[in-house]
Symmetry: C2
Subunit: 338 residues, 2 copies
Amino acid sequence: MAITIKDVAKAANVSIATVSLVMHNHRRISKETKVKVLEIIEQMNYRPSRSARGLVSRRTGNIGFILTNDHFLRTEPFYTHIFIGTEIEARENDFYVLLNTINSDFNERDQLPRFILDRNIDGVIIAGKVPQLLMEKLSHYNFPVVYIDFIPANKNYSTVLVDNVMGGRLATNHLIDLGHKNIAFIGGDIGHPSISDRLTGYMKAIESANLPISPDLIETSENYPARTNGYNAARKLLSVNKNITAIFACNDAMALGVIQYLKDQGKRVPQDVSVMGFDDVVSESSVDPPLCTVRVPTMEMGMEAMKLISTLLKEYEFYPKKIMMPVELVVRQSTQKI
Amino acid sequence: MAITIKDVAKAANVSIATVSLVMHNHRRISKETKVKVLEIIEQMNYRPSRSARGLVSRRTGNIGFILTNDHFLRTEPFYTHIFIGTEIEARENDFYVLLNTINSDFNERDQLPRFILDRNIDGVIIAGKVPQLLMEKLSHYNFPVVYIDFIPANKNYSTVLVDNVMGGRLATNHLIDLGHKNIAFIGGDIGHPSISDRLTGYMKAIESANLPISPDLIETSENYPARTNGYNAARKLLSVNKNITAIFACNDAMALGVIQYLKDQGKRVPQDVSVMGFDDVVSESSVDPPLCTVRVPTMEMGMEAMKLISTLLKEYEFYPKKIMMPVELVVRQSTQKI
DNA sequence: GTGAAAGCGCTAACAT
DNA sequence: ATGTTAGCGCTTTCAC
């Protein structure tokens, strides 16, 4: 049998009300009793029951985390890191995180995540792109929602975003600084804001350096930014334009495909062509050469989202906030001076 | 304000006790009232409060899931799949899963997972190898524990295991069936039961086929089964033994390293050397050629573990059970007839 | 500054 | 077969 507030009260010779007030740091409690009670709590290793608390406070102390299953299960640990970030921050705020994946083709017949129906959460964090329908259904419930790496159509939400434009600039400027003039951009799923922002960053950097923005340097016809698509994009691009000395791929997966294609063509990376990725989700040892990329602070994004929702919940601040997370250039051996 | 049992009782013109009994499928309830009450529950979309239930039943309805952070964060989604499996099965059993990663060097100063200290779970699932100390500390609490893919020193636990010996046989027999005579085994961290079992399966298959078991066909000196170690192991092996026509790596990561080494040596896979992996965690498109391997039913393992713990909890069956999960040969293009 | 007591939503023993 | 009620552990109002 676990220790209850009664046991603590008895041991401390006070009422259970006093114990409760001490735990909530109430100011009307004298210093002495406070110290005494806290000591006993520590000593008896007392932990309040979440069920009892939840019952009276109408709070579960849980936060729901929703993403699509293909996001969660994809090889690169992008969303896994975000999830861990929420978990770590949850510890500080005394929340628990419940994860629920949904189908990426979420439709009318699909149930909302169980924790919504059960009302077993106080708020929701949604990571990555999710179907419009989910958001609509969700809006019938009154839970605060924070989005990560996704801008919902209805902008009236708090979000944690990546500064993709800045990342695109950083990557491109790095190649420019290395002396490259013919710098290509390879993208997939260019309709996705994150990807098009990276292209924007690329273009801004190219313009700032007074280099030409040429259509035969930009290949964005692939519909998904995966490895094989990177391979194909590189083939399309390089069979047309022979002058390219540097390629900025919109993410690491595509960059791997690009490197593969170059190798298959007998070209050396970075001696013949420099290659940059984006996201920093490829472990250093798994590519040769180690991939130069832009780091996205995934874990920190999860943490920020949890902080946000925690504030929303504790301070009843329901107006939306946007947090833009900075990115960072990670120089590795897949790029070099021309 | 959410619907409560009172609202349902009032609407159905019965007492709250009756509603409760209906929900628990008690036999002393007449068919008519049962139907009526269920209808109203459906209609009002009533969901019982977990907090209230938990308070009286002394059950939280949560299951804790523990693994080390390097397991969770590693690139291959092995443990991610297992986790999802527990989540999916949890839905059937009306549990929620709380994830908590721990440091792989968990020591005296580290806290146990928060859900243990908080007593916010009814049972624990542990996946993969965890430090001995964690298990010891955990044993002071009276939670039922189920292990996945790990055999704790104290065998008195329920576990869900992979039939690695069978997998080793399947892989090796596949190569034998293709006509190979000089089949090598590459392993890392050979002290780990999963890995040594795969070697055992290899040896059994080789013996059964009346082929010789030769030390210059077996390379297990690497201390970790990762890609670069596979590369190195292949180098050691092939620089000594030139006759090898097939290599069975103890997992997919090492197999990737092996393929890399062979390519770097100008050998073709599978024309010159056939390569097999184990685990099936490498997405088909990310290797050339697609890797022939042994599939481990990761998601199903998570599901089985959750079923196990659910049974433990609901039927008070506390004697340990072992579940051995079958594996499956996955033929792809990295192997061929000699 | 501290205590008594009501009540959160539910289960289960007991009453009818 | 159904209803009444005590009580699970806690927060919070109100009294002292």
